[in-house]
């Protein structure tokens, strides 16, 4: 009932009252006031009726009678409970609310400024590792649990308390990769000691020893591990890509395609039988678990470090490359990337998609984290702190709210995915206000002032100068190319787009 129906105009209206008097005590005389046109006389007449009805109460039954009365529906102004907010009748006549565009513009400008003022993305730093953190893993069933593997052992973290829950010496040397089983009861780690180990998620009880559930000795070093979304199958990579059954100690399938080492392998979370891996020969190889051979590979100019599948779009994945860029591919059309994401000024080491599939976050050797919209060529956000060194691993939490970054200097940092977002529960009115300001920002995003304010980011001097330098270099290269083209035979220098530039070939 509390919606637009109660406009101010309808608050006061002339109702047509039909008095049906089955048990009534109203006395009505139709010819009491002959001049019915007069409004006041009408009200008077009604007063009179009421008075008389109260006083003399003679019982005369009248079947139906129409009297026009000025009345107000109590529903329009009475609160249902006294805890409710007072109803404020509004008149939406546009002439009463002029200058809508300037007013909204001002609001948008203020919202943008406040957004920048409140943009404090850094939440916490989890320190406790005694060596650089090499890998991390999300818990698929619990938001508050998170695992990290360092160059000497590994740790399980509780994020809400920001404390280490459990430490275990998993491998000798680096922990190269770790993954939690889809059910969340156990996790797998691979390390430099050529072993795959499966561990229980639960902390061992008093007196129990910290022992792996299962240990598989491999022939070579494993560099990465990933688990199937639904089945007891996991994949590792090293010198070749191996697919393992949890119950067996030898791989059920191994793929190698003239590549000597792989750096990363990932299952597709949507089409769960598909895999993709990054190899050291600058290639990205696609596999199907059910097929005997790999599917296809694309060779790029530089090596890709890691890749991540889009969890909402089955055929899209993004890979982080050594050439400072990230590339989003449609796996059906590998001949050129769908989008090239630039902005980093050093090699990109890791990438992870947001669970909504709309954005992804990348970690770079340039000591920054950047958040990219999946379709955009440039980042919408850059995070850095003075003390954060080369970011090696990055994860986007599965409730889409936080980002975790693991870096060289033994720390794991917790960031907000949306820098100026208020954390915690929002009151409905707060939520509405946030939505409104968001909409305003979107509406006026092309206005120069708003755009400039919302785009402004502070960068460390080194990165700033580096990016500037890169820009200059790029411009120079482009200029040179243009000049060469200008002075060469027409047609002899074909125009190569930015997307095509980075792909060497597609091998079938």
């Amino acid at each position: 009932r509390r919606d637009s129906s109660g406009t101010s105009r309808s608050n006061w209206k002339i109702n047509t009252m039909i008095m049906k008097t089955n048990n009534s005590i109203y006395l009505c005389r139709q010819s009491f006031f002959p001049s019915r046109n007069s409004f006041f006389s009408l009200i008077f007449s009604i007063f009179f009726f009421l008075m008389e009805s109260l006083v003399c109460a003679s019982f005369i039954h009248i079947h139906a009678m129409k009297v026009k009365v000025l009345s107000r529906n109590p529903d329009d102004y009475v609160r249902e409970t006294k805890l409710d907010i007072q109803r404020v009748p509004r008149n939406y006549d546009p002439s009463l609310h002029p200058f809508e565009v300037p007013r909204e513009y001002t609001r948008a400008l203020n919202a943008t400024k406040l957004e920048r003022v409140f943009a404090k993305p850094f939440l916490a730093s989890l320190d406790g590792h005694r060596d650089g953190v090499n890998c991390m893993a999300k818990h698929p069933k619990s938001l508050s649990t998170m695992l990290s593997g360092s160059c000497d052992g590994e740790v399980v973290w509780n994020l809400t308390k920001r404390e280490c829950v459990r430490t275990l010496q998993a491998h000798e040397g680096f922990v190269r990769g770790m993954v939690v089983r889809f059910c969340g009861t156990s996790f797998f780690t691979v390390g430099d000691d050529k072993t795959i180990k499966q561990w229980k998620m639960e902390t061992p009880g008093y007196g129990e020893e910290e022992e792996p559930l299962n240990t598989i000795l491999g022939k070579s070093v494993f560099t990465s591990i990933d688990h199937h979304q639904k089945e007891g199958v996991f994949v590792t990579c090293g010198q070749q890509v191996d697919i393992w059954d949890e119950q067996r100690s030898s791989p059920i399938r191994s793929f190698s395609w003239g590549v000597d080492s792989f750096s990363c392998v990932r299952f597709n979370p949507v089409e769960t039988e598909l895999l993709a891996s990054c190899a050291s020969d600058r290639s990205i190889v696609l596999y199907d678990m059910r097929e005997a051979t790999p599917l296809k590979k694309v060779i790029m100019n530089m090596r890709s470090n890691t890749l991540c599948w889009n969890p909402m779009e089955a055929y899209n994945f993004t890979c982080s490359n050594e050439d400072y860029n990230l590339y989003t591919y449609d796996m059906r059309y590998l001949d050129k990337p769908f989008t090239v994401h630039m902005d980093h000024v050093s090699a990109v080491l890791d990438v992870d998609y947001s669970p909504t599939g709309k954005e992804f976050v990348s970690a770079s050797f340039d000591k920054t984290i950047r958040i990219f919209p999946k379709d955009s060529g440039h980042s919408r956000e850059v995070y850095h702190t003075k003390r954060m060194q080369h970011v090696i691993s990055i994860k986007w939490s599965s409730d889409n709210k936080y980002i975790l970054s693991a870096s060289d200097e033994m720390n794991i940092r917790l960031w907000k995915a949306n820098a100026s977002e208020k954390l915690g529960l929002l009151a409905p009115r707060e939520k509405a206000a946030v939505n409104y300001s968001q909409k305003l920002k979107e509406k006026f995003q092309h206005h120069p002032q708003i755009r400039r304010i919302s785009r402004h980011r502070h960068l460390p001097k080194s990165i700033y100068s580096q990016s500037k330098e890169l820009r200059v270099m790029k411009e120079a290269r482009r200029r040179k190319e243009r000049n060469v083209r200008k002075h060469s035979k027409p047609g002899s220098m074909p125009v190569v787009t930015e997307k095509e530039k980075h792909v060497v070939t597609v091998v079938k």
Binding site: T160, Y315, D343, H378, L425, N435, Q449, H456, R457, R478
Partner: protein, 748 residues
């Protein structure tokens, strides 16, 4: 000697011929001789078919008449087939094939190398997987286009759940329970809890509250209208004026005819019904004595008829009416026509003095009615011609009333139908309106979608995303060394930028400063005009085209001259200079201050038609505005500098049309429509400001599952269901209602 020779030969042939009886020695001469002969014959080179000997049936003689021992003879394929010949379904085909095989001398190709086979395998596998993956395309697109996505995707519907949803494994066990449940099931009663019965559910589903309200309102309205109509009819009935009724009836009849004509075209079945009704009325007419000149009035008229022409005419008219009413509707079929002709022939030939037309008109006199065939349905093509009104209104009353009733019925029906249509229309309108709203509200998104659609390549090609020109696409961030901490910083930042912006703007071309399209086009015109230097190219007199019809001898004119002539011709029509001057003058005029007249006629003196306020007053109240600063282009005759541009606002104005918009009007429209609560109702605001992605606090968002795909595909097949009850459009929210819910756990 013979024997010895034999022996030798035998020895020589011993290698070749294997015989079971070899060891037997010379005991059996005849057999030996035989063998010898055979041996010799075999030496001769020509192969002869050998009779096989039966020695041990089971081993040596196979069922295919092939000797297992071989007997030194090669087995041919035809030998193998020989047995097949006996079978009636002669396998000629296989024979041929075998022959071909025999003739075909080429060897089999070597198998492909492992590398190549793998390549082929890979390609096939890739094709397969890419096809499989492409099934997601529609889902992905749908999610991209969705106005709002609520994560996790598969959320359980909120509210209380049914018992059968929660408790899955419960079964009726005792016989009593089973009996009760079977009874309940048989009667289609709810099994668990007071859940609704299927029929109730169906009824609930059939009509939402909104719809019911609308329906009720409609019914009310129809009732009211009906009562109005009835009241009107009553009033009409009470009117005593005969003329009024006559006119009324005429009008009705006309309308009825018109309707009937239409009905014949549009709804033949209904027309048929009408026809039947008419037939009934005709029958009634025949039964009655109306219009038969048998009433009191007719008798009195009959007396008068001899003397009074008018009375005679009246009687004739009545009879005509009778005829019309009782006449069967005739189809213009051939037989009928013949019939008519015949009837015309057989018409009795007497002519009454008093009623000369009577015999022609009166069907009784024609003697035709009884012989006429039954009414046919095809008559509907010829609606009956209703008789003209006769002088006596009382006579035709019944018919008229009937007509009226019919009319009423039809009118009511049409009314109801109209309501039905209106309701349908309203529903569609609602949808449309909401669509419009949404379209207006999320103009941007729709535009973007349009663009995306536009840009979407066919499924075979990779899509071209918005980041098309990667190298050129603008950065989303403005990265600098300044750290913004407070509002003051932000303020400063914006100032700085605005200053730089204005500088930029001033250096840019002047054409971009105005957002108004008109002025923009004007500007463009001006620019175009500016490009051609009029002083060089044209002279003012160049209005007449002087063009030689054929190439003349003046070919050695200079190139420049020629060029000039060509341009002259090309621009002969439009006088650029004068246009430009006019433009400039206009702009100057517009910029000049106008005198404001504040005189109020009739204030302080007499006013009225034709009275002017006094001169002194006019002088007094005419306000002159101070002249603006001189125009910038005052001394530049070839240039117009727009004075409209306000540098203080320019910093806040958009100087380029942003990406997804196609023209400035679109952009302006999105900017102009306000979003806030001050201008919109709460519902609208909620709708407009709904965020694109909604996530739940502490809910884990799982990757999209295959079940979703299947569901979506099924939806696509059945088409999107239109949600009548809800305000939100059917496609607005993709909140699928699957019991498979996202796992929830909170951080705190």
């Amino acid at each position: 000697m013979d024997d010895e020779d034999d022996e030798e030969l035998q020895r020589a042939l011993a290698d070749d011929i294997i015989s079971a009886s070899e060891d037997e020695g010379g005991s059996d001469d005849e057999r030996k001789h035989c063998k010898l002969l055979e041996a010799i014959s075999s030496l001769g080179g020509k192969k002869r078919k050998k009779l096989t000997e039966r020695s041990e049936a089971s081993i040596q003689v196979s069922e295919f008449t092939v000797n297992a021992e071989g007997e030194g003879d090669k087995i041919h394929l035809s030998d193998l087939i020989g047995t097949l010949d006996k079978t009636p379904s002669a396998l000629i085909k296989t024979k041929k094939q075998l022959k071909n095989l025999q003739h075909n001398q080429s060897t089999l190709e070597t198998p492909l190398t492992r590398k190549e086979t793998e390549k082929i395998q890979r390609e096939v596998a890739f094709e397969k997987t890419s096809k499989e993956v492409s099934r997601w395309q529609s889902v992905v697109l749908q999610n991209q286009k969705a106005e709002q996505l609520v994560f996790p995707l598969n959320q359980e519907p909120s509210g209380p759940k049914r018992i059968e949803q929660v408790v899955a494994g419960w079964k009726a066990q005792t016989p009593l329970e089973q009996e009760i449940f079977s009874l309940l099931r048989m009667n289609k009663q709810p099994l668990h809890d007071p859940v609704l019965t299927p029929t109730e559910e169906a009824s609930l589903r059939a009509m939402s509250l909104e719809e019911a309200k609308i329906r009720r309102a409609e019914l009310q309205k129809t009732r009211v209208l009906q009562s109005y109509y009835e009241a009107k009819a009553k009033r009409g009935k009470r009117i005593k004026s005969k003329k009024y009724h006559r006119i009324q009836k005429k009008v009705m009849r006309k309308e009825y005819l018109k309707q009937f004509d239409e009905m014949v075209k549009t709804d033949p079945a209904a027309a048929l019904e009408e026809l039947k009704k008419m037939e009934l009325s005709r029958m009634k007419e025949r039964m009655s004595l109306k219009h038969q000149n048998s009433g009191k009035w007719a008798k009195s008229k009959a007396i008068m008829a001899k003397y009074d022409d008018g009375a005679r005419k009246a009687m004739q008219k009545q009879l005509e009416v009778n005829k019309d009413l009782t006449q069967k509707l005739v189809i213009p079929a051939d037989e009928d026509e013949e019939d008519e002709e015949e009837s015309a022939e057989t018409l009795p030939d007497f002519v009454n003095d008093v009623e000369p037309i009577l015999d022609q008109v009166n069907p009784w006199m024609r003697g035709k009615l009884s012989t006429e065939p039954m009414m046919e349905e095809s008559n509907r093509l010829h609606p009956p011609v209703w008789p003209r009104e006769v002088g006596k209104p009382g006579e035709g009353r019944d018919d008229q009333e009937e007509d009226e009733e019919q009319m009423e019925e039809t009118e009511e029906e049409s009314l109801l139908r109209g309501f039905e249509e209106r309701r349908k229309l309203r529903q569609t309108e609602d949808v449309k309106v909401s669509d419009d709203e949404e379209a207006g509200l999320s103009n941007f998104t729709s535009l973007f979608h349009g663009l995306v659609n536009h840009m979407e390549p066919p499924a075979d090609q990779p899509k071209a995303g918005p980041g098309l020109g990667q190298g050129e696409s603008p950065a989303l961030l403005e990265e600098g060394l300044v750290r913004v901490r407070t509002l003051e910083d932000v303020e400063l930042l914006s100032q700085d930028i605005s200053a730089s912006d204005t500088a930029l703007l001033t250096t840019r071309d002047l054409g971009t400063e105005e957002t108004d399209t008109q002025s923009a086009t004007q500007q463009a015109d001006k620019k175009r005009k500016k490009m051609i230097d009029p002083n060089e190219v044209l002279t003012k007199e160049a209005k007449v085209i002087e063009m030689p019809l054929a190439p003349t001898a003046v070919e050695d004119v200079e190139d420049k001259e020629e060029q000039r002539v060509i341009i002259k011709e090309a621009f002969a029509g439009d006088d650029v200079i004068s246009d430009f001057l006019k433009d400039k003058r206009k702009q100057e005029e517009a910029g000049r201050p106008k005198v404001i007249d504040l005189t109020l006629p009739g204030w302080g003196e007499w006013g009225g038609l034709g009275l002017q306020p006094s001169r002194s007053k006019r002088k007094r109240f005419r306000v002159k505005v101070a002249p603006p600063p001189p125009r910038q282009d005052q001394k530049l005759p070839n240039i117009i500098i727009a004075e409209k541009r306000d540098s203080s606002i320019a910093a806040h104005q958009v100087c380029q049309l942003p990406f997804p918009f196609e023209n400035p009007i679109q952009f302006e429209r999105t900017i102009r429509s306000p979003v806030g609560r001050t201008w919109n109702t709460q519902n609208t605001v909620q709708k407009i400001t709904a965020p694109k992605v909604v996530t739940q606090l502490g809910a884990i968002i799982e990757p999209i599952a295959r079940e979703d795909l299947i569901k979506d595909i099924r939806q696509a097949v059945t088409g999107p269901s239109i949600n009548l009850e809800s305000d939100q459009g059917p496609q607005k929210k993709r909140r699928s209602q699957c019991s498979n819910g996202g796992y929830k756990s909170t951080l705190s």
